[in-house]
């Protein structure tokens, strides 16, 4: 029996972004969407997290941080890119210091489109991430 589907703990990291997606991520925790219904906890600590939820693009400065946070998450773990910037670099894609979407540096499992991504699609992305998490656990076992 696997408990991952019932207890996905999330680490939310914001790269280069306008903070639009971040507001939508937090909106998921409000009474209207209340993702805690599904056991989701916003942990703020990579060592406790199962799902790395990244908003915004990767730049020269935060690539080290993002890499460390991902590395410090214990297996099994999945990465969800939320919003246009995280998926591809978005409107920042051609900025001088931006490397692009986070799939340039991390293995992204789920892409959530939108600018900003809507809470419904973020929740959908997390649900898909849980399925990936489950597959990874079975593969490791």
């Amino acid at each position: 029996m696997s408990f991952f589907a019932r207890s996905p703990w999330i680490l939310h990291y914001d790269g280069s972004s306008c903070n639009g997606c971040d507001i939508e991520v937090l909106a998921c925790l409000t009474p209207l969407y209340d993702v805690e219904r599904f056991g989701v906890i916003n942990t703020g600590n990579p060592k406790h997290a199962d799902i790395l939820l990244v908003t915004g693009s990767v730049n020269e400065r935060n690539v080290e941080i993002l890499g460390n946070l991902y590395r410090q998450m214990p297996d099994p773990k999945v990465v969800v890119a939320v919003g246009a910037c995280a998926c591809s670099g978005g409107i920042f894609a051609r900025a001088y210091n931006v490397q692009g979407g986070i799939d340039q540096v991390l293995p992204v499992d789920v892409y959530v489109p939108g600018c900003a991504a809507r809470p419904e699609s973020i929740i959908d992305g997390v649900v898909q991430a849980i399925a990936v998490l489950e597959r990874k656990r079975e593969a490791a076992a």
């Binding site: 029996m1 696997s2 408990f3 991952f4 019932r6 207890s7 703990w9 009474p31 209340d34 805690e36 219904r37 599904f38 056991g39 906890i41 916003n42 942990t43 703020g44 600590n45 060592k47 406790h48 199962d50 410090q72 214990p74 297996d75 099994p76 656990r137």
Partner: protein
């Protein structure tokens, strides 16, 4: 024989009860915030998942110390209900807390260390109360074991109203509820990044949760000491107190550690000390 049975039951049921209470805590908290909240069994799902996850070990001594924390916590509860000397158990209880402090503090990371130091402050703030509480219970009833207190004709709550009041206060600290959750917090995005458990992962966090459930159960057992004429009444009183703690937790912001220490010592000295003094003066 009966003692062995009760001890075994405690060791099996205490984490269950503690876990259910933690789940109820989260549901009630969510309802207070206008949310639906997770299922009642959520804490068990969380621990189940943590046990299935990898554990990244940051140093070689943290996990053994956490297992010590869990073992001592379970042992202190088992000793109480199993009929050991009540005053002896308070030191085992303190050792359990110390193990958690050392597990977090041995990591040498800024967040863990801050959490460990603050947990040490919490220990300093609450330990005098627990020693005095059990001393007062023993003095009031003349008994020295849990069974002896339950069998005593003295109504402990009536003899120790001050101690009971102080218990409400100290329980807020021990349960790590706001405003006294200085060493760790279940609230997201707080400055300590969970403090004590910052650098723990996977099953290591599960040990902390399990120990906390035992701790909650032990606090419930302590409350039944006050209502020694009826254990169900004592458990009901504990639930009522816990509900009050949840309300306080949801309606206050975190205090500084200085306030935790000062207020806890003041409450212990005035209410528990005063009650104890009255007990000794009236005893002749």
């Amino acid at each position: 024989m009966n003692d062995v049975l009760v001890t075994a039951l405690f060791l099996l049921l205490a984490p269950l009860a503690g876990g259910v209470l933690a789940g109820a805590d989260r549901v009630v908290t969510a309802r207070m915030q206008g949310r639906v909240g997770p299922p009642l069994g959520q804490p068990f799902y969380d621990v189940g998942k943590l046990l299935q996850k990898d554990a990244r070990q940051v140093n070689p001594v943290a996990e053994p110390l956490l297992l010590g924390h869990l073992a001592f916590m379970a042992l202190s509860g088992a000793l109480v209900v199993g009929g050991a000397d009540l005053l002896f158990t308070v030191f085992v209880f303190a050792l359990a807390a110390l193990c958690l402090v050392l597990a977090a503090g041995s990591v040498s990371s800024p967040f863990s260390h801050a959490g460990a130091e603050r947990e040490l402050i919490v220990l300093l703030a609450t330990e005098p109360f627990f020693i005095l509480m059990l001393a007062a219970v023993c003095k009031a009833t003349g008994a020295s074991t849990y069974g002896g207190v339950l069998a005593s004709p003295v109504a402990v709550a009536a003899a120790l109203p001050g101690v009971l009041l102080a218990f409400l206060f100290v329980a807020t600290i021990k349960l790590r509820k706001s405003p006294f959750d200085v060493s760790a917090s279940h609230h997201p995005h707080q400055e300590l990044v969970n403090g004590l458990t910052s650098d723990l992962s996977g099953r290591l966090i599960a040990w902390v949760h399990l120990a906390h459930w035992y701790e909650t159960a032990l606090l419930a057992v302590f409350v039944t000491l006050f209502f020694n004429w009826s254990v169900p009444l004592g458990l009901a009183a504990f639930l009522a107190a816990y509900a009050l703690e949840v309300l306080v937790d949801n309606s206050t912001s975190r205090a500084k550690w200085q306030l935790v220490l000062r207020s806890s010592w003041a409450v212990t000295l005035v209410f528990t000390g005063g009650n104890l003094l009255a007990l000794f003066l009236l005893a002749r």
